[in-house]
Amino acid sequence: MYGRKACQLVTELASGEKGQLTHFNSDLFEQVISECQQHHLELQSLIRKVQEEGLDLQTTKNEDHFGALIHHLALVRNKRCLMAYVHNRAETIRSLIWKLLGSMIPPEIQEKLSNSEEEYFKKHSARLKEYMSKLELDLTVDMVPPKDPYIQVRVLDDIGEGIVLSDDKTANFALHSIHFLKRTDAEQYISRGLMEELRG
């Protein structure tokens, strides 16, 4: 049935968990595109047939016209499915950028992206950084309104020594050590999973 493959692509999106990326299914994507090209060829040949019979394209309503109509509808449908696939993935990628700004693309995510999506990731985060430096404001911190400017955190991964904090002091984030930090300093490490917040 027409449009079945394109719908499979969308089903794949729907069955994945929200906010999670799956591998870009370039195989199926290509198949849908070649199905579209097939539709296009058949559409053209039907239209040519109508013209060769010397009938008026606008007013003729014969079986060839309806055949062309069905190919046209299938094309429109396939287009919608492909667009939805790309669009919804791009949306997920954008929300990842907001959470991961400043760090490179994690390898487990990079392998799931197609080439153009990877480029989109890089360019979009570059634009966002450029915008924030123009504003002189880091928009990615304080996504949750703060109750207290300082929080206690435990280091979950060896981050390293001599990390310069915003108040020009350096800290040694050894594994399992506990620190009392400014929220804004800690936030980027927490969202990357390198620290956790401690509750007193």
């Binding site: 049935m1 039907l46 919608r80 669009h87 919804n88 109750k147 990357r192 999973g193 509750r199």
Partner: protein
Amino acid sequence: MTSYYDIDDILAEEELVSVVFQKAVNGVGIDPSSETDSVESGSKVELPFWLAQELHLRQVAVMALPSCFNQRTRLEIQADAAFVDLRSRCQFFYEFGCKIAPLVGDRTIGSWLLSTFKSRYKEVLTKAHSAVFAASSKYLALLSKEETKMYEAAQSSMTAFKKWRMGGPRFQRASFLSRKRKSTE
């Protein structure tokens, strides 16, 4: 109005409807019973809704009422709406119903969908707040996609409310990372 990119809307339009062609169509392979690349007038074919709708509007084919809205389902829903298995009938029962209602000649579908929803809604909401996770899976299998979403929304807002009351941790590791780590452990 649903968005062009809406995944659920796209999937709802993939539901099959049986249509009877009023006109002959050339050069398409949509009739599995036909040996040539054409559909003859009067043949009955199952088509996805997105195609059936347009053909119906152009009077190329006439749509029949899908079986998930037939008299038998109605009787079952009248008996005990909350425990009718809508998912196996049609994943997007309400969405699909709303799409098909103006096209087929049955004027009662709209009000019937509404009353079905009303009587099931109560059960969904109470189950979402009270049921233990393990016990609810059997009930969840009966719900249509729209109802499942509602069920999840009710549960997550309850958890969010409890978390807010207890004052849980406000920062969390970005969710897509935590999942990945867990699976590699």
